[in-house]
């Protein structure tokens, strides 16, 4: 998948270095623009619209991060914009309607306000004496944790902002897009000088060096960035959908596999009923559930299966959390929850521990057992594995596992049975316990209806699903 975040950053960096566009002779010189900005600034100071600030020092060579085209000019942000903080209105200065909206930091998160501050919940009235920031001001959180999120929005109408919000107003409105683009490259974490609470240092912000192109090139750069970002946005949306659909696809493949739709039913496989008889002949310690509870009636059946398969309740098929015999001093695997892979991967990682430590008060298992997490959210995340290649064939692990054993059923087939969406749905709908500690109900697991094919077909199904999932994962790289 394409890393769109990194791509965006790279492109903006090219943009502000003047590498995304050609410099044309008819653009003229940024020096002229700079003079115009200073004249406009003087006018605004004269009429009291902006305060006169200390003049900023000239820019030295080591402050400029890269070489810019000849007709551009390095300036300080404070020279071409007016930077101020807001004033929180008193309660009698705010109302639900009005002409001048008032924004707090949290309003930047409102739906619809992702770029422009379109939706306002509050307005100020004539009693307010704080600064009104003009349309075209870039606002950002300047105090508090939000200041480090590099969130920025643009005011589309004259507005008031609270004291935790800063406003950066371009001296002439034509500079708005360029300043916005430049700020994308500034990490406010670098301007944080708050000792306790993060604070964007206004002085540092004013001192920031910004390359200034002539206006006509600024427009060209903004245009091409729009076009580029439109495509990147499309890529992002589609990639998200793609990921989602791939996941759904994987689920469907397993679903179809367990319905017998991915494999042919062969005469030589025999009947699953014989397999089940063999299973019952073993003297296993299957769960003590009554025969009636384990019977299957036509109404219970969720879907049609091939004629030579049968429906079996899980508790009639597998030993659940069976015993494991081993010597206290034997090396064994220990698998904590973090080491179990989620999703449709069967692996896990382990540490080696002595059996008495690995097993004491832990879940126990041996090679060919299939285990899955019983606690939320690990259960829905499909944290599960097939025990393979364990030292001495034995292992212990997190208590939040359920272990299934049946040597006459192909382990990989079992793995897909418990990875199937139908199993996950049944389990998660049955959750017991308080939020944060929810576990699947054991009765639901015991009663779960497993479609059982003959052994040979189990192998074919598992292999087919393996191949298809592998194919999908390989093709994922677009």
């Amino acid at each position: 998948m394409i890393d769109t975040e990194t791509l965006r950053k790279k492109i903006i960096n090219l943009a502000i270095q003047g590498k995304l566009t050609r410099q044309l002779p008819e653009d003229g010189n940024a020096e002229d623009l700079y003079v115009r900005i200073q004249e406009e600034k003087a006018k605004l100071i004269n009429v009291g619209k902006i305060k006169k600030d200390k003049s900023l020092p000239a820019i030295t060579d080591d402050e400029t991060a890269f070489v810019i085209p000849n007709n551009w000019k390095w300036v300080r942000l404070g020279e071409i914009t007016d930077i101020n903080g807001g004033t929180t209105p008193k309660s009698n200065e705010v109302s639900q309607t009005g002409d001048i909206p008032y924004f707090k930091v949290s309003d930047m998160n409102a739906v619809g306000n992702e770029k422009l501050m379109v939706h306002a919940k509050h307005f100020i009235n004539s009693l307010y004496t704080g600064k009104i920031f003009p349309a075209g001001t870039i606002i950002y959180p300047k105090n508090g944790g939000a200041a480090l999120t590099n969130k920025r929005r643009v005011l589309i109408t004259d507005s008031a902002i609270d004291l935790n919000t800063g406003g950066c107003t371009p001296i002439i409105i034509e500079l708005l897009n360029w300043v916005k683009i430049f700020l994308e490259t500034v990490d406010f974490n670098d301007l944080d000088t708050g000792s306790n609470i993060p604070t964007v240092n206004a002085t540092m912000l004013k001192h920031s060096c910004i390359p200034l192109p002539p206006l006509s090139e600024q427009i060209r750069i903004a245009d091409i960035l729009d076009a580029i970002f439109a495509q990147i946005e499309i890529i992002e949306t589609l990639q998200k959908q793609f990921e989602y659909d791939i996941n759904v696809l994987k689920g469907k493949i397993i679903e179809y596999g367990l319905k017998g739709k991915l494999t042919k039913q062969l005469f030589e496989d025999g009947e699953a009923t014989s397999l089940f008889e063999e299973i019952q002949k073993q003297d296993l310690n299957l769960s003590k559930v009554s025969k009636t509870a384990l019977s299957v009636t036509p109404d219970d059946i969720p879907f049609e299966i091939p004629k030579n398969w049968i429906w079996v309740r899980l508790a009639s098929l597998y030993e659940i959390n069976p015993k494991v015999e081993a010597n206290a001093n034997d090396d064994a695997a220990f698998i904590p929850m973090e080491k179990v892979s989620p999703g449709y991967t069967k692996d896990f990682a382990f540490e080696i521990q002595k059996w008495n430590i690995a097993s004491k008060n832990h879940t126990k298992f041996q090679n060919d057992d299939v285990a899955f997490a019983k606690i939320s959210p690990c259960f829905e995340n499909r944290k599960s594995f097939i025990a393979k290649d364990l030292p001495n064939g034995i292992g212990g692990g997190t208590t939040e596992l359920i272990v299934l054993r049946q040597k006459l059923v192909y382990p990989d087939y079992t793995y897909y049975v418990i990875s199937d969406q139908r199993f996950i749905d049944a389990g998660s709908l049955s959750y017991n316990g308080i939020v944060g500690q929810q576990r699947v109900k054991s009765d639901v697991i015991k009663n779960y209806l497993v479609p059982l094919p003959p052994f040979a077909e189990q192998i074919r199904i598992a292999k087919r699903i393996d191949d298809l999932l592998c194919l999908i994962t390989k093709r994922k790289t677009v």
Partner: protein, 472 residues
């Protein structure tokens, strides 16, 4: 059936050339626009041959350009476009701001050859129109920057027209008409209502009105209508920004799908020209206000608007207040995502009449638990059959809800009484609690995955084009 066969064959012919164009760097939209111009020239020539006169001035006709080749062809063609764009009436509208986008003579010649190979004028209006509509629809679906910014699905348009039910003697307007989908559907709906020549003429020449602020779609819309024999003397489509340039004309029926998003930066301020509006930069809210201002008393409106118009506070709430006070908003149809190709957009259709305040609001939830995708499961007209039936167009007093608190809590058609409407702080009515199960088959998912993958590849190609030889 002969018609169907020729329609498919002709559409294929046009699209084959489109692929040739695309590989030469001419986008589908540009191609369709040029095709429109050239088609018009040819049809005018055929008309003249039949003795029916020509609308194009001497020296700028089909015969003056068709036999040329190479750069001569391109030059003459561009000369024609320039001259015709300055003409009055229908010609001027079709050729609004016409410029040539196919500058390679060989490519341009291909289009001329294809157009020359058929006789278009005598083709049934239905056939020509159907071909054009199909091409526009594919164009609208293929690319997000297609001709109509958000091409309204024809199934939805048809359902809206069915329930709003314009009559053959009424005036119908679409103030942001795009490629004239609504106007055409209204026309199809109205023309079967009477065989009287007078009424038919009125319908064709004086009943339908549209406007759009994008020159390209004005061309396509005018051509679309022209091919259906509507507005043959004068295009009913105006090239203007309806929010700014408005007249005192009022209409009996308004059907429209305003463009989504905020007004582009740099546009003329709406409020400056419409001081009677509640001030807002939300494009849809401004269009809602505009629609409210152009409908006659007793008139009917069907308008597609996003969720934000139903829920936003501030200026939007004020406009909603006015709507509920002075208009009867009797029905809301909640639409699912996945029917426009703007991903995830949540929209609704609002139906209201002018003249009385709102009392009860009937809501049809066609959103919860509904899954459509443009590629594999597009919305069809049949999907809205239950809605159209429940609407009881023309006899709304017979409406009955399908929702019942006890017996059918998942019923999609529900009435909210005046008190319930007043209690709700906005127009967002939800009550269904269905679980969303993905019903697609493996084949359908694969198709969707393929189309997503293709979309990504296309966007990457466009990116590469934009970046040129710049190293990223």
């Amino acid at each position: 059936m002969a018609n169907q066969k020729s329609e498919t064959a002709l559409v294929k012919k046009v699209k084959d050339i489109a692929n040739v164009m695309a590989s030469a760097g001419v986008g589908f939209t540009d191609y369709i626009t040029q095709l429109t111009y050239i088609l018009f020239l040819k049809m005018d020539a055929e008309k003249e041959e039949l003795g029916l006169g020509s609308s194009i001035p001497e020296g700028y006709k089909w015969k003056d350009v068709v036999d040329l080749n190479g750069t001569d062809l391109v030059e003459k063609y561009e000369e024609i476009l320039k001259d015709l764009s300055e003409q009055e009436g229908l010609i001027g509208t079709i050729f609004t701001r016409a410029t040539n986008k196919i500058d390679r003579p060989v490519m341009l010649k291909e289009v001329f050859k294809m157009v020359a190979s058929e006789n278009w004028y005598m083709m049934e209006g239905d056939l020509k129109g159907a071909i054009y509509e199909r091409i526009l629809e594919d164009n609208g679906q293929d690319r997000k920057s297609g001709a109509g910014q958000y091409f309204t699905p024809r199934a939805l348009i048809k359902a809206i027209v069915d329930v709003v039910d314009p009559k053959i003697t009424e005036t119908v307007v679409d103030p942001c008409c795009g490629t004239a989908g609504f106007l055409l559907a209204a026309y199809d709906h109205m023309r079967v209502q009477s065989t009287e020549i007078e009424k038919q003429n009125y319908l064709k020449n004086n009943a339908l009105f549209g406007a759009d602020n994008t020159a390209l779609v004005v061309t396509l819309a005018s051509m679309n209508l022209f091919l259906h024999d509507i507005g043959v003397n004068k295009s009913p489509i105006a090239y203007k920004d309806s929010l700014i340039e408005t007249t005192d004309d009022l209409y009996q029926v308004v059907l429209t799908n305003p463009p989504f998003g905020t007004r582009p930066q740099g546009s003329v301020e709406v409020y400056a020209n419409r001081p009677e509006f509640v001030k807002t930069s939300d494009n849809q809210v401004n269009f809602l206000q505009h629609i409210m201002s152009i409908v006659k008393t007793g008139g009917r409106v069907g308008v597609i608007l996003p969720d934000s118009v139903l829920t936003d506070q501030g200026a939007t709430a004020k406009v909603r207040e006015k709507l509920l006070k002075e208009y009867n908003l009797h029905t809301i149809l909640r639409l699912p995502t996945g029917i426009f190709y703007a991903n995830g957009v949540k929209t609704n259709v609002l139906f209201f009449d002018k003249g009385e305040p709102t009392k009860d609001i009937w809501v049809y939830d066609y959103r919860t638990g509904i899954k459509h995708t443009m590629a594999t499961k597009p919305m069809t007209r049949d999907d809205l059959n239950e809605f159209v039936k429940c609407y009881c167009s023309g006899h709304m007093e017979d409406r009955k809800p399908t929702y019942d608190k006890d017996t059918n809590p998942n019923g999609r058609w529900r009435k909210f009484s005046e008190e319930e409407v007043k209690k709700n702080e906005n127009l967002d009515f939800k009550w269904l609690d269905l679980e969303e199960k993905d019903e697609r088959t493996i084949q359908e998912i694969l198709k969707d995955v393929q189309s997503e993958s293709d979309g990504i590849a296309e966007a990457v190609a466009k990116l590469k084009e934009l970046l040129g030889d710049i190293e990223v």
